[in-house]
Symmetry: C2
Subunit: 278 residues, 2 copies
């Protein structure tokens, strides 16, 4: 089945969705994006994602050129055209076509694509992640830019170390994974997640809301040393929902298995998402 995509106001076959090479994303890596799921045709946490999209655009001084409602309407058009119930929808806003390949023009380019994605609770209950720490601080961390240079560059090191993903830290303070937020459960059962120099994920926000109903929750600096005494660790993201982290730098976290807090949060989150309690 041929899927469609928006390039600005044009609905085009996804396989032909393109940008001229003078676009500042291609010339200078200057663009922001956001990504959300649809479940049974229903966008998950759409308002939160659109708000963050507008925040990112504004931080890079890119004019979206549409209201949040108008974007929502375009997303609806795309969904009806493509007819995929469970999907991932990606909105990107680039620096636009630049005469000199450097100076931002006043008209960014907007690209909206949709892909088949399935959220499998079964997978998230059986899979776990091994991470390696790496010292790196993303630039403009509160902005969802397209800068994943370091993450992609690190792929071979991940393979060499036999791990699934990287966990960034800077000056001894844990921040985030390239595409997900990081949590620990401390020895005294507090659910703790980094507060600064990170991209604040929508799933992170929802997990914090759920966690607050049952646990002490702390948004604060988490040191690399604290990983040693953590009972559990997990990551959250739109794609992954919640996945337990059972090993960091070759050292098991807690029992080395998915812990009870992560399991409970994962089920609660799954219920929120799949019951349409959005």
């Amino acid at each position: 089945m041929e899927l469609f995509a928006f390039v600005n106001d044009d609905l085009v076959p996804a396989g032909q969705a393109s940008l001229l090479v003078s676009d500042l994303s291609i010339q200078r890596g200057y663009a922001i994006f956001d990504f959300f799921k649809t479940l049974n045709h229903k966008p998950v946490f759409l308002d939160a994602h659109l708000e963050r999209f507008f925040h990112s655009a504004s931080r890079l001084r890119l004019e979206v050129g549409k209201s949040q409602d108008e974007l929502g309407e375009m997303i609806g058009v795309l969904q009806r055209k493509n007819g995929i119930p469970d999907s991932g929808i990606r909105l990107e806003l680039t620096g636009g076509y630049s005469e000199d390949g450097y100076t931002p023009p006043t008209r960014p380019n907007l690209v909206i694509t949709q892909k088949l994605v399935k959220l499998e609770i079964a997978e998230t209950l059986t899979r776990s992640l091994r991470l390696m720490t790496y010292e790196h601080q993303r630039q403009l961390p509160d902005v969802k830019t397209i800068d994943y240079l370091m993450a992609i560059w690190l792929f071979p090191l991940l393979r060499e170390k036999g791990v699934d993903d990287v966990l960034y830290y800077w000056n001894g303070i844990i921040t985030e994974c390239p595409r997900s937020n990081f949590f620990i459960v401390t020895a005294d059962d507090a659910v703790v997640t980094p507060a600064r120099h990170i991209l604040k994920g929508i799933t992170r926000m929802k997990i914090l809301e759920i966690a607050k109903t049952q646990f002490r929750v702390e948004e604060r600096d988490v040191t690399v040393e604290e990983l040693r005494t953590a009972k559990e660790a997990f990551v959250t993201s739109t794609t992954r929902n919640l996945l337990p982290v059972t090993q960091i730098d070759g050292v098991p976290i807690g029992t080395g298995e998915m812990g009870p807090v992560a399991r409970w949060l994962n089920w609660e989150m799954y219920a929120v998402v799949s019951n349409g309690l959005l």
Copy 2:
């Protein structure tokens, strides 16, 4: 006049040169490039630029898919097609079309564009730059990636401070400007330029060669404090050749005018470039 460009092996009108939005440059800012001038149809320092292009590609594990000679031939074809004597030619190699928008495929995309650019010695002898320092370290600094996020993001701050460009430093050590290398002339007439955590420019290399014939030359760490006692400062780049820096953070450098060392180097460099002593 309609110019042409290469997208992989296809010579296309530049106004139609495009990449699909699944390209990793658009999705994740993953791409490298290089840029050189032609003067009277002759590429300037072509071998040095191609060598650096291959170095950048290799550091990002991107297969150019062509030899240096084959690239040289494509550049020749493009030059003959476009017929512009004085130009800038840009080669870019992107992460290629990625199925999942994250994992690098094995086939990068190659884009070669040409633009009208004139090197005006008169301009470089009358223009000078005011800089502001800013604490930032580029990631993978020895690779000419498309990551100019910080540089473009800083535009309004430059305007606000009334300066022409930014000079990056990190932990008190000067590195480079976003698109040029930085030099000082010390009180005892040494020509000094940062050695580490920078992109080593081709013009920087040539200026060092010329400077060595007349001055003591040092490639070493330059501290922010050393700016205060410098007699001269200047930047070098393919586009700018050599431009004097007369003010940094509002403080004049030396006399606040172009100094004799910069003036001499600029003329010598201009002679090398324009006499085809390449």
